[in-house]
Amino acid sequence: MEFFLSRYRNVTVLLVAIVAQLLLIAYQVKSNKDVPLLRVWAVSAVTPTEQALEVVRRYTWGFVEDYFVLLGVRSENEKLKQQNGQLKLENHYLRSELGTADRARALAAFQSQSQSKMVAARVIGNGTGANSKTVFVDRGSVAGVENGMAVVTPDGIVGKVVDAYPMASLVMLITDGNFAAGILSQKNRVRGTLKGLGHGECQVEYVQNEEKVDVGEWFFTSGDDRIFPKGFPVGQVAVVRTGKTFKEIYLTPSGLQGGPEEVLIVLEGVHQQIPESELSASGYKILPAPAEADSEAPQGTGSPTALSTDADRLREQYKQAGDAQHHVFGEGLPGSTPPDFTKIQGVRATVQQPGAQQGAPPKPPGTQPATSNPPGTTAAKPASSDATAANGTAAPGAKSAVKTPVAKTPQDAAAAEPPPKPRPRTQILVTDPTDADPTAEATSPPATKDKPAIAPKQPPPRPPNQ
């Protein structure tokens, strides 16, 4: 044995070294565990030097640029870049929300949801490895960084933290061959899995051939992977091909353009709910949630709101009438005098002018009823009104699509050609001002100048239950 070892000492040492490393690899692969001790030693030995080099490089080069080349422009540029990054993030967030939901809902959601908590980090070096795309950043577990945290820039996602050391972290870029993340297309809401390819582009996998993905379309994180909060941009589609089962989609990542130097590590991501427009895009129309409609309706105003109903408006009218007469609903005893509901503005107009010609302007209290007006005052009424037809008199200024001969006697009037059909005067109930046709107001009859555009349906003046 001794002879063997001394004779083949070199080969024996080689075999021992290789077998030991093979066992080490087998242990790591089999148990899916790392050897943190070795890594911590190596990283602790290398990263401080890197940080020192980076500091020296930044300050020396920055000094030259600041004082000899650009003076104050550099610091201003840094500040503007930072502001621009924040604005981009806000802009991306708002655009994704506004594109998927209505404006009020998106704004309310934006106000109610807080932004992700992030920490800025600087890339201080590349990771080694023939085909791996990893970088070291100068923030580690001391700064709250943990394995699996998302790393982003305002332009898009960058990668995820795969190893967090005390003073530095190893970030796997999205172009790494082992990287994967759940993503969602912006336009067609196509879900897929982002995979790194080991070079500049990424591939979107598991998208059926039947799905529609366009070149130039943006992909955003879907949040399915529980690493990246939903809504962060990923990149634009560069190539789309129909594959055997799934589409071949290649993506140009937007977060790695020009090589990231400063990144944001998402310490606490904002997980958003799936926007409803995903369902509406697939052919379903979704009504606004009733709970939010109630909460968004302004209190104490009688005007119809986007989310109120007829019953709400009627109730508001009664409430106003009661308030005006210092009546508190629910306090009076049975048999006590109820408030005068004929003083409700809409109801009063109906009650006071039961036989009034339609289209006449509302009169203030105390003025003569419309029926006592002189004939000349009815010139503005439509010639097609029923009262005019019954009297057999046409106002001089009346406009009519069909010219009607003047009848001298009531019999002649009865025998005369019937007047043109009056324009429908049915009140159109608009529940949401934003849904109303913007041209409707311009083409509405003249009565809209005299009456409110959204007139109540003249409910019977019945008091509410006391």
Binding site: V13, Q21, Q28, V29, V46, G125, T128, G129, A130, G259
Partner: protein, 177 residues
């Protein structure tokens, strides 16, 4: 057999080199090489093809002419490289262990101080390193890595070209044993 070939094939085995690195250089030089690989390509992307840790391993093994020392040295450099990557520890270690062993074995038989031989050996060991790493990644880890033969050949030539002046500089750091 030509005179040149006879000069190369000296009487086996050659004794260990009388010139050695100081201990401090044995640690600092590979550390600088790894730092270079990690840091410099961030600013000079085209220098990412340089595999300085490999060249340092080859130079040490060729100069030392001791397979055991070369095995340990190559393994150490490889393990540090592994630690800075996201691969299982041992991939670079195994490859550089083999490179160190074979380089030391070759140096025991050939006159490796000749620049042409140095160039050829550097080129060969770069190819061996890349190819063996690719084989290990496929066989042990099941990774589907691309092996671009043309690119590897080109990078091998560039690394060999860099090895010539680099070895000259490293030779200056040696002291007589």
């Amino acid at each position: 057999m030509s005179e040149f070939t006879e000069r190369l094939l000296t009487s086996p085995p050659r004794k260990e080199s009388t010139e050695r690195f100081r201990i401090v250089w044995l640690i600092v030089v590979p550390l600088i090489a790894i730092l270079f690989q990690v840091y410099v390509p961030r600013f000079l992307q085209f220098l990412s093809y340089l595999e300085l840790p490999l060249l340092i391993t080859v130079h040490f093994a060729l100069g030392r002419r001791g397979p055991i020392a070369a095995v340990i040295y190559g393994m150490s450099i490889g393990l540090v490289q592994d630690s800075l990557s996201h691969q299982p520890i041992g991939m670079f270690g195994i490859v550089k262990t083999l490179v160190g062993y074979f380089a030391a074995s070759v140096s025991m038989r050939f006159d490796v101080e000749n620049p042409i031989v140095t160039f050829i050996l550097s080129f060969f060991f770069y190819l061996f390193h890349q190819f063996f790493y690719w084989v290990l990644a496929r066989a042990l880890l099941g990774q589907t890595m691309l092996f671009d033969a043309q690119q590897t050949l080109l990078f091998g030539l560039l690394n060999a070209a860099v090895a010539l002046p680099l070895f000259r500089v490293l030779d200056k750091l040696k002291v007589a044993a």
